[in-house]
């Protein structure tokens, strides 16, 4: 078996606040194989952004990793110094596509200046070769008139074009892993489709791994090979996309799917709200909202179960089944 591009196990991240330590990520576990797209799905506030910042090592000063490991191509990223991360990981071996293409580019610098800055830093070399490569990439992401684009400013592009720029930027230093943070939410539906198609093509073409963070199950269904569902900082269920969408195991996944307009007749919704990480209930964090909750759920955290090959679920229900 090949080494996964990214493997996270038992990750816990806390943030110091006025009212004590908040467990913003409680236990997160998943892995992505090269050439694979993993969708990480969760409602807003579930810790998706923190997860990305944790992997990239750009947590806010008040936050820290409490436990767990982040293995990137077999190396523990937690062991890297800030300088090493900045020089050799972020933007080079791990590419990043941000959420909002309108806000992510520095408005006062030309596209060329910004993108080449990153390339020069991560792969010192001749300026010309960098710009040649960049132009090629821009052409690859189907940006019109790529040569001229380098001299233009961000506000002179449309949203879709900017997202293409950012995708090209993420690929510029030949990364092994690309993290995409809801890259299509700010775009209109048609553009969204084009971008998703582009991403899929690029992953297949380059054989890289991609971590695709989103709240949109529809996008996941369309794009991802595997899915990992997060609720309130905890991974609740992971597995191949098709299998999971067909037969969700965790009550939360089921509820989530039930909410999706494409997949249910009635718009049901989940009662209650995502708990604050400060006042996370003991045991399973979904228990207070779970229709099938039982007293044991609030007693302790569930242990991960593997009810089918390639699928895992964190729910007491399946502990019982496994035991039986």
């Amino acid at each position: 078996m090949t080494v996964p591009a990214l493997a996270i196990t038992g990750l816990r991240v806390g943030i110091r606040s006025d009212e004590g330590m908040a467990r913003i990520l409680d236990h997160i576990a998943f892995s992505i194989a090269p050439g694979c797209i993993l969708g990480v799905v969760g409602e807003s506030g579930c810790g998706k952004s923190t997860l990305i910042r944790t992997i990239l090592g750009i947590l806010p000063p008040a936050a820290e990793i409490v436990a767990g490991s982040i293995l990137f191509e077999g190396e523990d990223l937690r062991a890297f110094s800030e300088a090493e991360l900045n020089r050799a990981v972020r933007g080079s071996r791990i590419g990043f596509v941000p959420q909002d293409p309108y806000l992510a580019l520095n408005p006062l610098f030309t596209i060329g200046a910004q993108l080449l800055e990153v390339m020069r830093w991560h792969a010192p070399g001749e300026r010309r070769s960098h710009s040649t490569r960049l132009v090629e990439l821009l052409r690859r992401v189907q940006l019109p008139d790529p040569e001229a684009a380098l001299a233009r400013y961000p506000h002179q592009f449309s949203g879709g074009q900017r997202q293409r720029l950012l995708i090209a930027a993420a690929l510029a230093c030949s990364p092994r892993l690309v993290i995409a943070d809801e890259p299509t939410t700010a775009l209109d539906v048609t553009t969204q489709q084009q971008i998703l198609r582009l991403l899929r093509e690029l992953v297949d073409e380059l054989g890289i791994a991609m971590l695709f963070v989103t709240h949109d199950l529809g996008v996941v269904a369309e794009l991802c090979d595997e899915v990992s569902v997060i609720y309130a900082g905890q991974t609740v269920e992971s597995g191949p996309t098709a299998a999971m969408l067909d037969r969700p195991l965790h009550p939360y996944t089921r509820a989530l799917l039930a909410c999706h307009p494409d997949r249910s007749e009635g718009f049901t919704g989940i009662p209650g709200a995502v708990p604050s990480p400060l006042r996370a209930p003991p045991g399973c964090r979904f228990a207070p909202r779970c229709a099938g909750a039982r007293p044991a759920c609030t007693g302790r955290s569930p242990a991960p179960q593997w009810p089918e090959p390639g699928r895992s679920v964190d729910c007491i229900l399946y502990e019982a089944k496994a035991a039986a």
Binding site: I52, R53, L56, I58, L85, N86, R87, V89, R90, G91, S92, G95, F96, P98, Q99, D100, L103, A104, L105, N106, P107, L108, F109, Q114, E117, V118, W121, H122, Y153, H155, A169, A170
Partner: protein
Amino acid sequence: MAGFIARRVLLVLPSLLGLLVVTFLLIRTVPADPAVALAGDNATPEQIEAIRRQYGLDQPLLVQFGRYLAGVARLDFGASQFSGRPVAADIAQRLPATLELTFAALLIGAGLGIPLGVVAAMNHNRWPDFLLRILSVGGIAIAAFWLAIMLQLLFAMQLGWLPLRGQLSVGLTPPGGPTGFLLLDSLLHGRLDILGDALRHLVLPAVTLSVGGLATIARFTRAGVLDTLQKDFVLYERAVGFPRRRMVWIYVLRNSVVATVSQIGLLFGSLIAGAVVVEAIYDWPGIGSYTVQAILTADAKVMLAVTLLVGVIYAAVNILTDLALALIDPRIREGR
């Protein structure tokens, strides 16, 4: 770009006219009468009246203003009612000294204030930030002349490193022409001895004058950087591993100095005002002490000319500021 400048210049003209009207009215409301001073200590009331007629001070307001405007249009600002000297000549002689001083102060203020502001912001709520906040406030609060005297005591009296006062040592003669700026002229004439001497004289006044501006610049830069650091693109730049130092000093700073640069435009006015005190203490032969003299002697011609001059400088600096902003921000350049 040329259109942009032309538009700005055109917009300035009505403001300047408005400025003149306001000032003229203000000055005319002041009862102080220059004729009394001119007539001297032993004058009879009849002699004072004669002088008043001679200077047209008995004419209706509108006539006086019309005459004055006609003069200004020919760049003739009249003669000082106090000294009888042509106002334009006196100002032309003194203005370069003030400009040299203010530019030097601005240079020090921006040269130190911007980096200090950045450092403070990058260390938000840690000790360099606290220190800078306290120092910059102190800078604004410290009375210029108190600081000036302390600097004089230390550097001119105790250490003897720098001259106490003046623009040039007594033994040296200014090279004269062509620009009127002492530093520039001595350079053009190749008189490095004069240049060095003039620079030594410039240090203490410029530092004193810069303190308030430095504090303002540092504060605005700090606030700007803090604002910018919240922007999505900074997070993005961190996420793709921009070189740290270049990210702060180039990519973040350029976004943060917009407010600072607008401030520098405003600051220039207060620097000229601050020059009044600094010039007095260091005996700097600039426009500040000239203005105070004019105010104390109710010399309307000089006050009007100085007001107009400050207005023009202010407008010019603001146009320059706008140009600088346009250079910084491409969106402004495109008129968005």
